[in-house]
């Protein structure tokens, strides 16, 4: 099983079509929606696609054929451990608990696999130890 993150841009002409459900039904893919928004430019979706590599590729091809712009998620949150003071100010803001505290040591751990790159932590961290960076 592979898991790959993509940013999808749906042009306005197809935002009203049921598309994601087909990824599940026809391509045996499961997915986790990390971020979603819709405005006059169309829809923007950050998605974690989970399935066999070959199925993910087929699913991506299907989306592209429909006119969905598909780009791999190119941003990630970088945790600068040297800057982190382990205060804990971030933990009540991280929506996915990617930033959490080991209650025995009271030290911060950053689990990047849980991070959805929402960026909330960047400004809430007093020593600014979190950075949005290009992969």
């Amino acid at each position: 099983m592979a898991s790959k993150r993509y940013v999808l841009h749906f042009p306005q002409s197809i935002v009203d079509k049921p598309i994601l459900s087909k990824l599940f039904r026809d391509y045996e893919l499961t997915f986790n929606i990390l971020k979603a928004s819709i405005d006059e430019d169309g829809g923007l979706l950050t998605l974690d696609l989970i399935g066999k590599d070959s199925d993910i590729q087929r699913g991506v091809d299907f989306l592209k054929k429909l006119g969905v712009e598909v780009k791999p998620l190119s941003q990630r949150m970088k945790y600068h451990e040297d800057k982190c003071t382990h205060c804990g100010a971030c933990v009540t803001f991280c929506p996915t608990y990617a930033l959490n505290i080991n209650r025995d040591t009271m030290e911060i751990k950053f689990d990047e696999t849980k991070c959805v790159v929402c960026g909330v932590c960047v400004k809430y961290c007093p020593p600014r130890a979190m950075e949005l960076s290009e992969t």
Binding site: T85, H86, C87, G88, A89, C90, V91, T92, F93, I101, R103, T105, M106, E107, K123, Y124, P126, P127, R128
Partner: protein, 405 residues
């Protein structure tokens, strides 16, 4: 072994390499295993520590004289764009932790980011980075020069003295927001409807919570300050010893404070860190460690205080705090706060700390090592701080009507 020890005896043991020095966490284990009586006899020193944002911090800097001479005193001086205080002699200045750059948008775009400020200047100086000095002066017969632009480095200037008028708060509030919108405070970002609770104390490791009635910590006490050696030079501003205390003498809210001083040149960027509070401002996180001599069983009892014995007041920062309305929603202990969740008004509220417990712990370990290596002798206070029962108080400002002439 007799029941009382003196500073002289303990220092002699440190010199001979025979002193029993434990960190606060190690001491708690000994008390649990052997009981307080034996712990008091066997242990000579317990190291305490704290690391957190402390706004009343800053440094005196003497740059050395320029040629021709320049009186920066009364003029304006910027360090990396941050204004510093010049209302003293020609080339003496004071960089304060909360100063922000002249062109900072502050909270005009709310909430302001405050990415850089006086605390960051101190961090950069102590890290050995070059800092841009820009100065303007009015010029005098004896100090004719009017402008200056140069790089400075801490190793080249005469003095760099960290001098903090209020640090190491003895206990603190736990901040919450019962209103229906997010607020941005010095206690961090507070989510609406009691969405989170932020606290700021090293609790059982914190120096003044281990000496709640100031029986050992006073003027002249030698301390770990910012990675170097410093001293307590006075009680801190807003020192407030006459507050409600528990049976263990521990204040149930903010109380005593310390004014501390030390040579910035000896300190380290690991223990003086510039920090930014969204929508509030820039400041400096300071590391302080204080050794407590276990002179007798009473002091040992105070030092055996645990997180569950220390209570913080849960204060509404949306209304009560800004309007200076006394009172709290409830109180919670630090064991609960450190568990990650407390119950307030029947609601489970996730907690965050602004003070770093891991860094406070590390300070207790470093200070222990300094004493074990004979690099740090205990300094007996030449005068103790005003304590409970004294007439010392902390008052609000009394505003009076002004009749402009």
């Amino acid at each position: 072994m007799k029941d009382e020890k003196t500073y002289e005896e303990i220092n002699k043991k440190i010199e001979e390499g025979n002193a029993v020095v434990l960190t606060k966490e190690e001491f708690l284990k000994i008390v649990e295993e052997k009981g307080i009586k034996i712990a008091a006899k066997e242990v000579d020193v317990v190291t305490t520590g704290t690391f957190g944002p402390m706004c009343s911090s800053g440094a005196f800097l003497n740059f050395g004289h320029t040629k021709p001479r320049m009186k920066m005193g009364g003029g304006t001086v910027l360090l990396n764009g941050v204004p510093v205080y010049t209302g003293i002699a020609a080339v003496d200045t004071y960089v304060g932790a909360t100063a922000v750059p002249v062109n900072d948008p502050t909270n005009m775009i709310f909430p302001g980011e405050f990415k850089y400020g006086g605390g960051h200047v101190i961090h950069d100086l102590v890290a050995g980075k070059d800092v841009l000095l820009e100065a303007k002066a009015y010029g005098t017969n004896c100090y004719p020069r009017k402008t200056l632009e140069t790089w400075i480095n801490i190793k080249d200037i005469n003095e760099a003295i960290l001098c903090n008028p209020r640090n190491a708060y003895q206990n603190y509030n736990c901040a919450v927001n019962p209103s229906n919108k997010t607020i941005y405070t010095y206690m961090g970002v507070l989510k609406p409807n009691l969405g989170n609770a932020n606290y700021c104390s090293a609790a059982q490791l914190s120096p003044l919570l281990n000496d709640p009635l100031y029986k050992t910590i006073g003027i002249g006490t030698r301390i770990f300050l910012g990675g170097g050696i410093g001293y307590v030079y006075w009680n801190g501003t807003q020192h407030n010893p006459n507050v409600t205390r528990g049976p263990n003498g521990v204040p149930r809210g903010g109380a005593g404070t310390l004014a501390v001083v030390g040579d910035l040149k000896q300190m380290s960027p690991d223990w003086l860190i510039g920090v930014s509070f969204l929508g509030y401002g820039a400041t400096l996180a300071v590391g302080i460690g204080i050794p407590i001599p276990i002179l007798n069983e009473d002091i040992a009892k105070f030092v055996s205080v645990k997180d569950e014995d220390i209570f913080a007041q849960v204060v509404d920062y949306s209304e009560s705090y800004p309007q200076f309305v006394p009172g709290s929603l409830c109180e919670v202990n630090y064991k609960e706060l450190k568990s990650g969740e407390v119950t307030i008004r029947g609601k489970k509220v996730p907690t965050s700390s602004l003070s770093s417990y891991p860094k406070a712990r590390k300070i207790t370990q470093l200070l222990k090592k300094m004493i074990d290596n004979k690099k740090f002798m205990l300094g007996k206070a030449v005068q103790l701080l005003p304590s409970a029962g004294s007439d010392y108080t902390c008052k609000p400002l009394k505003e009076r009507p002004v009749n402009k002439r």
